[in-house]
């Protein structure tokens, strides 16, 4: 530094900085004005209109307010149409029911005693357990419609069932339904007739609650499910004590035993990827896998799923029931059975499955990181669906009734078919 010749432009040490008197250059003005205009427009336009999935917040708010506006007496004609769309598939066009399978709603002691209010509760929460109607026993597998139908729609259906199919004079209004939703909307489905007895006074004798006799087959399975071992985490810690799943953790209750066993073997071998499940599956013996598969296959539990991904339910229903041939996607129900209840042994039930899980798995099929379906069937379907289709179909399936538990004798017959290590994956 000192050996160099000093630059003649070097200032004195005593120079102190100051500012010159210059005007602001015009580009600064124009930038400031342009940004100010942009800022005002931004504030006005986007302070509320931000997209939540496919809907803007404005649209959601508008839907909510129009629903609330229809607080007047329920429209019974609309109720009839809604009944035909949502209820008649099982309960019959005139609410006559199907002997031994679906209880009647026309001239039903449950409806007569409970009125529109009880119907509202049942539609909102669903039923998961045995019950007696007019003295006959039924399985009781009714989905919860609380998350798929609005307050107005539920009021119309409940009023139609009470006054149109029975002779009750009392209807229920949308605000009353909203009040019921506040206290009962988040509750689990009714535990069969035993659960309904708490809702409806003087209900004739009902079967006992099933929850008690769902014990594990052996002590070892009970320990695996409830407490886990050194190398196996308790199944219930993620999948729930009713096997209902949560978020991206799937519902296991009622899935075919061979399907469950195959998945655990695939996790063991690495043909299906999931770091948590790979670790758990490696700690299981073949015998434990068989027992666990049977345990969950014979488990009956209410749906723990609700549409949660802002999917288009109409589009989801179309994909599930008819498929979309323009993109080469067959109907889900073709393989997974009517209403998605599954076709044992290879096609798992998809009804009442957790929507985040379904959407995530479809994406994984599309991306190729899941590839263990027979004949690569699901890979092609996964690739054909885009993000909003995945959410639509996942939400629709989450709104359906859960598959019934597999019969123990049925399971025993399937035992020999459980694929061990030489699975049919490709």
């Amino acid at each position: 530094m000192t050996d160099k010749k000093p630059d003649p432009r070097r200032p004195d040490e005593t120079f102190e900085p100051f500012e010159e008197t210059r005007r602001i250059p015009w580009p600064v003005y124009s930038i400031a004005i342009a940004l100010a205009i942009w800022g005002v427009i931004m504030l006005v336009q986007t302070s509320t209109a931000v997209e939540v999935a496919d809907k803007t917040q404005k649209e959601v708010a508008k839907e909510d307010s129009t629903k609330l506006a229809q607080a007047a007496a329920p429209d019974l004609d609309a109720g009839k149409t809604l009944f035909a769309d949502n209820c008649a598939t099982c309960h019959g066009d005139a609410g006559e029911g199907v002997a031994g399978a679906f209880p009647p709603l026309h001239g039903s002691d449950v409806v007569k005693l409970g009125g529109a209010k009880a119907v509202t509760h049942i539609v909102m929460r669903g039923i998961g357990g045995k019950l007696n109607v007019n003295g006959d026993g039924y399985e009781g597998q009714m989905p919860a419609f609380g998350s798929v139908l609005s307050d107005t729609e539920i009021s119309e259906i409940a009023s139609y069932v009470a006054t149109g199919l029975n002779d009750d004079a009392k209807t229920i209004s949308a605000p009353e339904v909203a009040d019921i939703r506040k206290v009962a909307g988040d509750k689990d489905p009714f535990d069969g007739g035993a659960g309904l007895a708490g809702l409806i006074n003087d209900l004739p004798a009902q079967p006992n609650s099933e929850a008690a006799d769902q014990g594990a087959d052996s002590e070892r399975v009970a320990r695996l499910v409830g407490q886990g071992t050194d190398t196996v985490w308790a199944c219930a810690s993620c999948h729930g004590d009713k096997g209902e799943g949560i978020e991206t953790v799937p519902r296991l209750a009622g899935l075919p035993a061979p399907y469950l066993a195959k998945q655990l073997h695939d996790f063991q071998r690495g043909t299906r990827f999931n770091d948590s499940m790979a670790y758990v599956a490696k700690g299981l013996s073949d015998r434990e896998i068989g027992e666990l598969a049977n345990y969950y296959a014979s488990m009956s539990s209410p749906s723990g799923a609700k549409p949660a991904l802002q999917g288009d339910l109409k589009r989801g229903a179309q994909l599930a029931k008819q498929g979309d041939w323009s993109i080469g996607v067959p109907a889900c129900f073709t393989c997974h059975g009517p209403s998605g209840v599954g076709v044992a042994p290879n096609f798992p039930g998809i009804a009442a499955q957790q929507p985040s899980y379904v959407a995530h798995q479809l994406a994984m099929w599309a991306g190729g990181s899941r590839h263990n379906s027979p004949l690569g069937l699901m890979a092609g379907i996964g690739k054909a669906l885009n993000d909003s289709d995945r959410r639509a179909v996942a939400d629709y399936l989450a709104s359906l009734a859960p598959m019934p538990a597999m019969d123990k004798t049925e399971l025993a017959a399937m035992e020999s078919n459980i694929p061990v290590r030489e699975g049919v994956d490709q």
């Binding site: 102190e16 100051f18 931004m42 994984m364």
Partner: protein, 524 residues
Amino acid sequence: MQITETLGLLLALSFVISLLALTILIWAIANKQVHTPDADDARTIFEPGEGADIDYPDKPHHFDTARSGIDANSSSVVMWLIAAAVFWLIYGSLHGLAASLELHLPDLMSGTAQMTFGRMRTVHLNSVAYGWASQGGLAAVCWIIPRIFRTNLRMTGLLKVGIVLWNIGLAAGVLAIANGWTDGLEWLEIPWQIDIILAAGAACFVAPLIATAKNRNVHHIYVSGWYFLAGVLWFPVLFIVANIPGVHHGVEQATMNWWYAHNVLGLWLTPLGVGTAYYFIPKIIGKPVYSYALSLVGFWALALFYSQVGIHHLIGGPVPTWLVTLSVVHSVMMFVPVIAVAINQHVTVASNLWALKESMPLRFISFGAVMYTLASFQGSIEALRSVNTITHFTHYTVAHAHLGAYAFVSLVLMGAIYQIVPRATGKYWPFPRMIAWHFWLNVIGFAVYFFSLTIGGILQGLAQLDATKPFADSVILLKPYLEGRSLGGGLMTLGHVLLAINLIAIGFAKKTRETETENMVAAE
């Protein structure tokens, strides 16, 4: 306190009011309603009587800070601050480097809780933000404020008490964090019990600087003075409001958290960096800054718009949409002050490029000033929802944070240290070549660091948005970029070690340098 519609309206109004204020300011400047100092003015401001014969009546913008005794009076406080700042710089850099290594060598230090990533990174942030940048900035403030006010630094004893308190508090805070005792909010990790010591330390800084400003011997306050005084008043308010326990809960707490964290950058570290650059760039070059009117716009637009910027960190979070939109708009409005400062500082450097060759401190400072422009532009763009969708929760944000806090603030302060220390101690730097090495290690190290994380961050964000890819893919693809980050961080740390060596060596060196200003040049 609940964020209600009324409160929302009031906050939205803050944008309109800020806009109105900016319009009035620009109108006033354009119509010469604001008193601007010109050459004649300057002569009356620095009246010959004030500084006796150390003022130069024939040279209006000259003043001998050494012979007036001002520099000697503030030098011990300044050197205390610089020594403490450089200690925390080294300490924080080592923790940052360790945290960076842990991201691609996860088992490296996993045996000890104190050395896990979560604590190492947090210690790094607190050390460099409160130990290095704050104290380095205060050193520049304590050096420059008396010079531009032409008066001695007041209450130097109290300032030294403040330095001791601040460092005790910070050491206790860092120790607490390393042992797992924190308040659990980013930038506010130091437990509030320890924050009391820090707040007391901060108070010891405020009073002497206000007293010095009150006793100034000039009428016109140079632009650095506005930034410094504003920063010194803003920071204690931010620090105390954000650290009072039990006031904010839930979503409001997150809102307050990011209001604070971003304002520490914009209303504390930025004024320190910009004010320092505003003083040293013209000082070393010997030419005035471009326009007084622009420095007005730059300062007031920062003051008006910055305070609402932080909430863009919560885009997509469960806070009211209008609150986020307001923050996005304010973030983008930051273009105005940044352009004003850029013109004022860069025009002076660009028309005197020779000085970059002559002066190593100027190289640090003007590089830092350019990085301020870039970091601010990037920050405004990053606050837009469309960009944020990709960059949020990725290493892109980390690169941006270092562009601001490191490439801008830290480099400006390092340049200031290289300029101040010889003048405060009367000694030459023992190893002048090391200064150039330090500069290039920092610039190259930072370039490697920044581009690694920016590219890696974008790829990470795109992978996270792709639902058909498992989350692990977005982590695995980052590995080479994280290794690049460690390499860059290593080079930067090495540069800091060179600064520390030079500083320790100058402590042991004999007085070799004239402090008489006649024999000195600014650009040396």
